[in-house]
C-alpha cells in the first residue's frame, strides 16, 4: 500500500465567529455610509494614522485587508496581470497589483462574502504612512487620480535603529500637518477629545491583542499563526473602536480557558515554530495542515505582532502616535529586528524559524541580508527559508514548500 496522508485535527476557536461578525458589521457599516452619505470615508494604510481619522468622524477602510481577501479567495493571481499590463510590475507589491487589478476589472471578494455589497467603499480621502514601504504611496496615488480625491500622508523613516526625538519630532509634525487638509474633506473641525479617545481605545485594543498573541507561549499553544492572520482583523481595521476591544476580550477569555485546560490547536505539539514574514494568503489552510500533519505548530510570528502599538498614550496623542508608528518592526534596522526575534524565540520557546521569502514584498522579508544565518549562529535555533509570495501564487511551488517543510521537521526530529 502507498503511504497514506495522515488526517490532522486543527482545533478551531469558537470566538472566530464573533470576529467574523465584527468584520461583517464593519464592511456593512462602510457600505451603508457610502449609500446613505452619512459618513465620509478615508482609506488608510494598515499601519497608517487611523486614530486621527477616527478623531474626525471618518469611517476608515484599509485596502490591504481587501488585498488579503483577494489572496485568501485566490482571486489575486488572476487579477494581478491587469495591473501588470498598465505598468505595475509583477515584481512589486502583489497587494497593490491585486487590488488595482481588481479595481480595473470591477471585482471584489466583498460581494461574495457580504451579500448586498457591490464594490469597495468609495474614498473621500486617501491617507498613507510610508513606514511600511513606498508601495503604499504609489498604490494610493493611483486611486487619488482615479477617484479624484486628495492624498495625504506621512513620509516616514526606514531602517531605524533607536527611535530618537528627532525621528518622532518630524513624524509628529507631519501628523499635525494632516489635520488641515483632512478637516477640509471632513467638513468639520478636528476634535481633540474624540481623537484622544480613539488613541485610548487603540491602545487598549493593542494591549489586548498583545495578550492574545502572548497566550501562544503556553505549552501546548492555544492558537497558531494561521489563526492569528484572520483573528488580527479587528486589530487592523477596528483599532480605535469599542467593538474591536469587545472582540478581543472574548477571544482572550477563550484562549485563557484553553491554556488552563492545556488544550492546544493541534493534538500533538512536538515542535514550536516561529514564522517570519507574510503569510501566503492563498495557502493559509494548506500550510496550517502541512505543519499540523507533522506535529509542528507555528505559534508565533512577527507579522501578527505588527499591530501592537505599545507607545500610544492618549495624554500625548500626536507624539505617542509618532513613536508608536515608528517603533514598528518593519521600520527598524536589522540589529533591532534580530534582537526582537531572539526575544520572541525565548518567550515562545521556539524550536525553529520559518522565513517566508515573499517575492513581491522585500519589506516584510527578512532573509535576504544574512539574518537567518546570523540568528542561527547566535542562538543555535535552525531555520528554513521558503520561497513564495503573499498573493501571487505564480511565485510559489507547493511541492517545493512541502518537501522543504517536511525535511526541516525531519531535521528537528533527528537532532532532538
Amino acid at each position: 500500500m502507498a503511504v497514506e496522508e495522515k488526517k490532522v485535527t486543527i482545533r478551531r476557536l469558537k470566538t472566530a465567529k464573533d470576529l467574523g461578525k465584527f468584520m461583517a458589521d464593519y464592511y456593512y457599516e462602510l457600505d451603508d455610509a457610502v449609500k446613505s452619505g452619512k459618513n465620509k470615508i478615508a482609506w488608510c494604510t494598515s499601519v497608517g494614522p487611523a486614530e486621527i481619522l477616527r478623531g474626525m468622524g471618518f469611517l476608515v477602510y484599509f485596502p490591504e485587508t481587501h488585498s488579503a481577501m483577494l489572496g485568501t479567495t485566490r482571486m489575486a493571481t488572476d487579477l494581478i496581470p491587469a495591473a501588470n499590463a498598465i505598468g505595475y510590475s509583477p515584481e512589486i507589491c502583489s497587494y497593490l497589483t491585486a487590488d488595482i487589478g481588481a479595481f480595473i476589472q470591477g471585482k471584489t471578494p466583498l460581494s461574495k462574502a457580504f451579500p448586498g455589497i457591490e464594490s469597495v467603499p468609495k474614498p473621500d480621502v486617501l491617507v498613507y504612512n510610508t513606514n511600511q514601504c513606498r508601495d503604499v504611496q504609489d498604490w494610493f496615488a493611483y486611486y487619488a487620480d482615479k477617484f479624484n480625491v486628495p492624498l495625504v500622508g506621512v513620509n516616514s523613516y526606514r531602517s531605524v535603529g533607536e527611535v530618537t526625538p528627532s525621528h518622532t519630532a518630524s513624524i509628529k509634525m507631519q501628523l499635525e500637518n494632516m489635520i488641515e487638509p483632512l478637516e477640509k474633506v471632513a467638513g468639520r473641525k478636528f476634535d481633540m477629545a474624540v481623537f484622544k479617545e480613539a488613541v485610548r481605545l487603540s491602545k487598549e485594543c493593542s494591549d489586548l491583542w498583545e495578550r492574545v498573541l502572548a497566550t501562544g507561549s503556553a505549552k501546548p499553544a492555544p492558537l497558531s499563526f494561521f489563526d492569528g492572520t484572520t483573528l488580527m482583523g479587528p486589530a487592523v481595521v477596528g483599532r480605535g473602536t469599542e467593538a474591536a476591544i469587545d472582540c478581543y476580550n472574548l477571544l482572550l477569555e477563550e484562549l485563557e480557558e484553553r491554556v488552563s485546560a492545556k488544550i492546544g490547536v493541534i493534538d500533538d505539539e512536538k515542535f514550536r515554530l516561529y514564522w517570519e514574514g507574510m503569510p501566503v494568503w492563498g495557502r493559509l489552510s494548506a500550510h496550517s495542515k502541512l505543519f499540523a500533519g507533522l506535529g509542528a505548530n507555528v505559534i508565533a510570528s512577527t507579522y501578527c505582532s505588527s499591530w501592537i502599538f505599545s507607545a500610544l498614550d492618549p495624554e500625548d496623542p500626536f507624539e505617542s502616535m509618532a513613536r508608536a508608528y515608528t517603533e514598528l518592526f518593519i521600520v527598524r534596522d536589522d540589529d533591532h529586528k534580530e534582537k526582537y526575534i531572539k526575544e520572541k524565540i525565548d518567550f515562545f520557546k521556539i524550536d525553529g524559524i520559518v522565513y517566508h521569502n515573499a517575492r513581491t514584498c522585500p519589506n516584510n522579508t527578512n532573509c535576504l541580508y544574512g539574518m537567518p544565518q546570523r540568528i542561527e549562529n547566535e542562538t543555535g535555533i535552525p531555520s528554513l527559508i521558503i520561497d513564495g509570495d503573499l498573493n501571487d501564487l505564480r511565485c510559489l511551488s507547493d511541492e517545493q514548500t512541502k518537501t522543504n517543510v517536511e525535511a526541516f521537521i525531519e531535521q528537528l526530529e533527528e537532532n532532538r
Partner: protein, 262 residues
C-alpha cells in the same frame, strides 16, 4: 549479521528519474534501477523494482520494508514509509563518507546542498529555488538548443581548450548567450564547458561549504568531467560515491533497514 535473504528497498522518485536500490542486511547493494519517471510514478516505481529484483535474483517477498522518497514519494504502491529526499541523500552519503560533509546533489529539476556534522546529523539544507539554472533541466534545455545529444556533453566539455564563460544566471538569458557565442564562431566544446561551469557556479552561490564536499546526482553520474572542473573551482578534492545517482535511493533503503531494527 541479519538474515542474508532479507532485502530492504529504497525508492527515490525524482521529478526526472526514478531510482530504486535494494540492499541486504549488510547494506550491500544487490540490485538497482534508474528509469525516466514519466507521468505515471506508480508504474515506473513498479518497473524499477522489477528490474532491481531481477538483478538481485530475488522475489518481491524477500523485501521486508520499503521507504520511498523524492517528489513522487507518496505514489509508490509498495512503500511502507516516506522520507524526504534531503534525509535520504544525507543518509546515503554518510554511509559512504562517515564524517562532517557538505553534500551537493545536482538533480534533474533541483539542486540540494546538505550539511552534516561528524555524526551524520543534519545541520542545514537548501534546495535551489525558482528556476532551472544549475540543474539537469538546464543542461537538457541547452543540449536541445545546441542540437547535441545529452550523453555527448561530457566528452565535448573534456576536449575544450578555451572555455566560454556565460555571464547570466537565468536559463533563458543563458540560451541567448549561447546563440550569440555560436554566431560569433565559438567552438561547441568550449560552449559546453561553459555550460558545465555555470552549473557549478550556481551551486557555489547557494551556500558555504565545509572541508569535505561530496557530489551526487544524475548530472555528475553522467558527466564525470564536471567533477574535474569542480575540483578546480572548489580548489579541493571532491568525493563521489560509487553510484552518485543512486545515493537517495540507497539512503532510503538504509532507512528501511533501520525502521525494521528500531
Amino acid at each position: 549479521m541479519g538474515d542474508p535473504l532479507t532485502l530492504f528497498a529504497g525508492i527515490d522518485v525524482g521529478a526526472s528519474r526514478t531510482k530504486v536500490a535494494l540492499i541486504d542486511s549488510n547494506k550491500r547493494l544487490t540490485g538497482y534501477a534508474v528509469e525516466k519517471s514519466g507521468v505515471d510514478f506508480s508504474k515506473t516505481a513498479e518497473r524499477c523494482l522489477k528490474i532491481s529484483l531481477n538483478m538481485a535474483d530475488a522475489e518481491k517477498e524477500r523485501i521486508k520494508y520499503a521507504v520511498s522518497s523524492g517528489y513522487g514519494r507518496k505514489n509508490v504502491p509498495y512503500s511502507n514509509e516516506t522520507k524526504t529526499e534531503i534525509a535520504c541523500h544525507a543518509k546515503g552519503c554518510f554511509h559512504f563518507f562517515p564524517e562532517a560533509i557538505t553534500i551537493v546533489d545536482i538533480g534533474g529539476q533541483d539542486n540540494k546542498i546538505i550539511k552534516l556534522d561528524d555524526k551524520g546529523h543534519r545541520i542545514s539544507f537548501k534546495m535551489n529555488r525558482k528556476c532551472a539554472a544549475g540543474t539537469g533541466a538546464f543542461l537538457e534545455e541547452m543540449s536541445a538548443r545546441l542540437d547535441i545529444p545529452l550523453e555527448d556533453l561530457n566528452d565535448l566539455a573534456a576536449i575544450s581548450t578555451n572555455m566560454v564563460k556565460l555571464g547570466s544566471y537565468c536559463t533563458v538569458f543563458s540560451g541567448t548567450e549561447v546563440l550569440e557565442n555560436i554566431r560569433n564562431g565559438k567552438r561547441i566544446e568550449d560552449i559546453v564547458k561553459g555550460l558545465f561551469y555555470s552549473v557549478i557556479k550556481r551551486i557555489v552561490e547557494m551556500d558555504s561549504f565545509s572541508d569535505k564536499v561530496v557530489f551526487t546526482g544524475g548530472v555528475v553520474e553522467h558527466n564525470p568531467y564536471m567533477i574535474e572542473m569542480a575540483k578546480e573551482i572548489f580548489n579541493k578534492d571532491i568525493l563521489v560515491p560509487e553510484h552518485p545517482q543512486l545515493t537517495g535511493a540507497f539512503g532510503a533503503a538504509i532507512y528501511a533497514m533501520e525502521s525494521v531494527k528500531a
